[in-house]
């Protein structure tokens, strides 16, 4: 990430290296705001991501409505109850929806084309947003035909894990 910015020492500010704006009619004033953040994940998401590093997908169960949600939650969005019961979920599930991303935009974590899907893991009561892959994505028409035959997918793990959402590389058709 750091190599994307250069520090303008005279002005003591950062500029994004790999981004240029088109010319405008009148004078413009360029200023890139590069802000550092360090989000607290709290005990629930820490445990969820630690689980991914171990190759396990954890959800939590609501003691009131019994729903299992993934990513694990601290509290149930509908009942507002604490969700303290941890459940390891199967690594297979069904595709609820998907889309093939075929354009580039700033901040993408992956070179297009790639597929983003909503995957309902077995036992879960919601779907998880993640990549679908493991086959040739270069021809949209072929992808469309292939995806017509796919309903079940299975997690494929990254070789190197960092206790983050990308520890799952993608979900592949089974």
């Amino acid at each position: 990430m750091a190599e994307r910015y250069k520090v303008d020492k005279d002005l003591v500010r950062m500029e994004i290296v790999d981004f240029t704006f088109p010319q405008k009619e009148y004078k413009t004033s360029r200023h890139d705001t590069v802000l550092p953040y360090n989000w607290a994940l709290g005990p629930t998401w820490t445990k969820f991501f630690d689980g991914l590093k171990e190759g396990k997908i954890f959800g939590t169960r609501c003691k009131k409505c019994n729903k299992i949600l993934v990513p694990a939650r601290t509290f149930c969005p509908s009942c507002y109850e604490d969700m303290e019961e941890w459940v390891e979920l199967p690594q297979e599930g069904s595709i609820e929806t998907w889309c093939l991303v075929n354009y580039k935009y700033y901040g993408q974590v992956k070179e297009p084309p790639y597929i983003i899907g909503q995957i309902r893991l077995d036992k879960a009561d919601c779907s998880l947003t993640h990549f679908i892959g493991g086959f040739d994505l270069s021809d949209p028409d072929k992808v469309r035909k292939k995806m017509k035959t796919v309903s079940r997918v299975k997690a494929v793990w990254s070789k190197e894990k960092h206790a983050d959402i990308y520890d799952i590389a993608y979900f592949k058709p089974v």
Partner: protein, 387 residues
């Protein structure tokens, strides 16, 4: 809902790529027009409401401070309201609540975006936290996922959905040609749309809104003031707004409860029981043509799963039973923060007969709508020519 409220004036900028002026000057262009339209001066205004997309869009954290002078808010209270794409509806609702409550008589509402100041898509990437919801921030991704979920849920044939989405795009672009303020003004055929480059399959280039600069200002007034000041006010008949859970996967987006419930609330308040029959025109928020299909269903304008059939038979086309987005809609112009308020302004123009070339003949009752967040919010405002 409290006291009756009316729109007494609207103003919009020429939308598009507005490198010719600074951001405060863009806001001023809309504000000036709204005051001229209403025939009042800033001293008549009790308060100002402003909204836009997240500040990162243009890089000034409190852009309503930056616009204080352009908003004519010096010496007045100023509210900021924002709900992403539905900001335009939210700012209108803030003013409507303010006037309906009796705490203010005249409120100026302004919303704007100047997307060419920054990288709009990069800002979209900051709307969701980046560690749980996998790079879904790109708007075409979120709404293509939703469109496909809808198609899958109702087993809608892909080719039929494609044809209907193409009709939506062609109709909107025809509307844009009739609207001198629209950003995109181009004649398209169904083939142009269905053969355009793929953005996020099945969504193609002309299924997607542009990146626009633009501002919109709307002035709301109490019944007493409106009757005194305005020859032909547009009366607020009903409003509705609903939010949803943060995680996209927690609820169905094919049967989109926030659209359904927000519109039901607005219809109930407006005394509308058969919206397709009773409404004369609808300004549906349509940044994506496929998404409009789903909205038509969730707004109760046709039965669930049947939007493509209704669109193909012309129900929502110009001259149809309920013309949608005669202004060109969001597909022809999307200064995001302003886009929902432009829908309100367009509804007001329609029911007061001031829409010019894109006027729907004799329109008396109009729906305006916007959605926001990663499929999280929906807002509706219904305006009518009669109190």
């Amino acid at each position: 809902m409290g006291r009756a409220v009316a729109v007494i004036g609207t103003g919009q900028t020429k939308h598009g790529r507005r490198d010719d002026l600074s951001y405060p000057d863009l806001v001023r262009e809309a504000v000036k027009k709204a005051f001229e339209d209403a025939g009042i001066t800033p001293k008549d205004v009790d308060g100002v409401v402003y909204g836009s997309m997240p500040s990162m869009m243009e890089g000034v954290a409190y852009n309503h401070f930056y616009f204080a002078d352009a908003l004519r808010t010096v010496g007045k209270p100023l509210f900021r309201t924002e709900t992403c794409g539905s900001t335009g509806q939210s700012v209108a609702h803030t003013a409507i609540h303010w006037v309906a409550s009796g705490m203010a008589d005249i409120v100026l509402v302004v919303a704007s975006e100047k997307e060419h100041e920054g990288d709009a898509q990069a800002t979209m990437m900051t709307i969701l936290e980046p560690f749980l919801m996998v790079t879904i921030g790109g708007a075409p991704v979120a709404f293509s996922l939703q469109s496909r979920e809808w198609m899958g849920y109702y087993h809608i044939d892909e080719d039929k959905a494609r044809e209907a989405a193409s009709i939506v795009s062609v109709d909107s672009h025809d509307g844009g040609l009739n609207n001198p303020l629209a950003h995109i003004r181009v004649k398209l055929t169904k083939e142009d749309v269905s053969k355009a480059p793929i953005i996020t399959y099945p969504v193609r280039l002309y299924d997607v809104c542009p990146v626009s600069d633009g501002a919109c200002a709307v002035i709301f007034a109490s019944e007493e003031k409106a009757k005194k000041i305005c020859k032909k006010p547009a009366w607020v008949k009903g409003i509705g707004f609903r939010g949803e859970e943060y995680f996209i996967g927690d609820s169905s987006k094919a049967v989109w409860q926030s659209t359904i419930e927000a519109s039901k609330e607005a219809y109930k308040e407006a005394g509308i029981t058969n919206p397709l029959k009773e409404l004369d025109v609808a300004e549906v928020y349509n940044p994506f043509s496929y998404q409009e299909l789903m909205f038509l269903e969730c707004l109760g304008l046709c039965p669930p799963g049947e939007a493509p059939d209704y669109v193909i038979k012309g129900t929502f086309s110009p001259g149809g039973e309920l013309p949608c987005d005669p202004s060109g809609g969001v597909l022809c112009c999307n200064p995001i923060g302003a886009a929902g308020l432009i829908r309100v302004a367009e509804a007001a123009l329609q029911v007061t007969g001031k829409a010019g070339e894109h006027q729907v003949e004799g329109a008396k009752l109009a729906l305006s709508h916007a959605m926001g967040g990663a499929m999280q919010f929906n807002g509706i405002t219904i305006l009518g020519s009669e109190l």
